[in-house]
């Protein structure tokens, strides 16, 4: 029982972390240009994603 009371919050916390990360990435526009992201990785110059 004690292990459970520790493990369940950890499991849920990790899940929430993933959910939060996804919602953040959605809002930050990470999915705006999926085709472009695939070719940008091949560019030679230093390219930091802009908003």
């Amino acid at each position: 029982m004690t292990t459970l009371s520790l493990l369940i919050p950890i499991a849920l916390g990790l899940g929430l972390l993933g959910l939060g990360a996804f919602l953040w990435s959605l809002r930050a526009g990470q999915y705006e240009d999926l085709d472009g992201a695939a070719v940008r990785i091949l560019r030679e110059d230093d390219d930091t994603p802009g908003r």
Binding site: G15, L19, L23, E32, D33, G50
Partner: protein
Amino acid sequence: MSCCAAPLISDKTRDTLSASRIALLEDLKANSKQLVDGRISYLLSAPAIHCGNCITSIEDQVGKLEGITDVRANLTMKRVAVTLDGDSRSLLPVVQALENLGYATQSLTAEEAGGSDPEFRLLVRSLAVSGFAAANIMLLSVPVWNGAEGATKELFHFISALIAIPCVAYGGMPFFRSAIAALRRRRVNMDVPISLGVTLATGMSMYESFIGGGHAYFDAATSLLFFLLIGRVLDHLMRARARAAASNLARLSAKGGFVVGEAGDLTYVALDAINPGMRLRVSAGERFPVDGTIVEGVSDVDRALVTGESDPQRVVEGTGVEAGTLNLTGPVDMLATRPARESFLAEVMQMMAAAEKGRSSYVRIADRMARIYSPVVHILAFTSFTGWMIWTGGDWHQSLTVAVAVLIITCPCALGLAVPVAHVVSAARLFANGILLKDGSALERLAAIEGAAFDKTGTLTTGEPAVASTDIPPGATAAIAKALALRSVHPAARAVAHAIDGVPEPRVSGLHEVPGHGVEGLVDGRRVRLGRRSWVAALMPEQAATDAQGVAFAIEGRGLWFTTLSERVRPGARDMITALRARNIPVTLLSGDGAAQVAAIARDIGISDWQAELKPGDKLAFLTAAAGQGRKMLMVGDGLNDAPALAAAHVSMAPASASDIGRTAADFVLTHESLSSITFAHRVAKATGQVVKQNFALAIIYNVLAVPLAMAGQLNPLLAALAMSSSSIIVVANSLRLHLLRPERAEAHGPEAGRKVKPQPMAKEAIA
């Protein structure tokens, strides 16, 4: 890109003060966004972006310009976002830089530029939340299935409830809303049994966990929502992509015009602000913004988009012109007679709205299924309830549990996925082959067609003439003719320029266009003319006896030559007609053109059933009559005159070069020049219909197997979860088979293949 729009844009680039350029800048400004730090961000549509190099060259070249703080090209949406460091900066250098790189730009309307629409964001967020809930509840359910007992089981149920309740409340919203809307209209759709199943499953599980016994179906409820939301998101994604692609196509209607003031000065006025009585100047290559009468100047007007007539018409003082027609050869002044909202265009819009009402009676296959499915399911649940009441002698709890279990197991998870997944896969296949699908139900309608009607100009033909034969000798003479032909935007001149190989003669001087007649110049002191026969023949009166038609070319004192033109049939037209006939689909040609021209084209591509000289209302009448007899017609057309017919047909297609309204009215937009994509679209639609039916069959088989178990009271959460997931996976896997569809050799026409068919080989024959 479209065959007609592209050269127009490049012609206009020479003229920096053209109305379209000013309209573009005004539009971009209107839709720009001011950032917090005072910078201005603009969003441009650049449909030509297609590869990684495009991104690099755009970002490098535009980024070098003064005043640009940020530039980012979007390959998926084919857009460029540019940020300027202040209000005073003009966007003009950016537009020019992009055009020099080969990317013609257009503005986006406010709602298109708004980026991701709120409905889609809500769906994706719901999907994320229900995915989180489904995964975690499943995690907690596994120990329960494995025999966790007592306090552990209660704790797990309790935590599951805590996760499931907000998730169902939030993630279920799209379904609840749709179900309520349907019930209000006294109809049932698939969302009614879905909403009922999900809420009842959650409610009953809460009750069971509270009293501390029995089964909890939280996992079933949340994973059901998760699967269904996947279907919804895919469906939305498909439509959004087609909409974005359609809005990226060149707009053909004018957005404003130059008003001539008292002192002869020109001011740019937006379309809505043009009033009757205003005098407008329309230069060569522009479209008339409103209906009006010519008051000064002579020119040729291309009215193909409006009337379907392919030959340009000569206009002089007093001739009436319609909004949307293209002024070809000379600048003219017109007097606006009607405001934009009452133009010929607006009349067509009204006709379309009326025509669309007839079509709205179409019921999607999923809704047709729901009409049968929902009552059956609800009757089954009710029967099990009463059955158990009688069997157990009035045990409410037991009977209700069984009834709810029936509703949960019949909740149409696979049915909800059956249609959207198949449609999304097909839409992706069509998209890859240059066909934009605006709405999934169009696939169902296309599969059912029993006849097809085609417009001629701009649909079966490219709307631009090509040289059929010429007696202009190659070499020096041809070089002079080319120099003259390049001066004009008249379609006939362009056809001649296209047909002549080699470089234009540079010694031609004094080149000028005589509106309504042709182009004139001087070579070695001799006059040279290209254009209307009677006008050109004046240079060589002794040779004018021949009665040849088409374009004439003459060098004073040297000779007179004739070139005949014919409409260029789109590649793949003949194959497409043959293929449709092989599938037992009769083809009719409906044209606004004269009978002789229509008969020639019809004979050329093998259509025996044709009608000529039709007005927009006649085409509409033809299609409504067909609909009245119960014949489901496909209409393919491009012009304003086709728009009401496109809206009235069972299903409709328009080439990308069509008028705005034509493209809006059509269900499919064909972006390749070749017409063979029509046959491919029809084949995909048929295959999709098959797969959807198979999906329904699979989903129903699963129900037939599972429902007796539920009615017997033998259902447990593990069984429910397994059955639901496996049926969904089978349906998705079956739909993915559609991805294997490839265009046959005859149907395969990439953009390159389409381009190769352009008349270069023909030109060589003609010259030789």
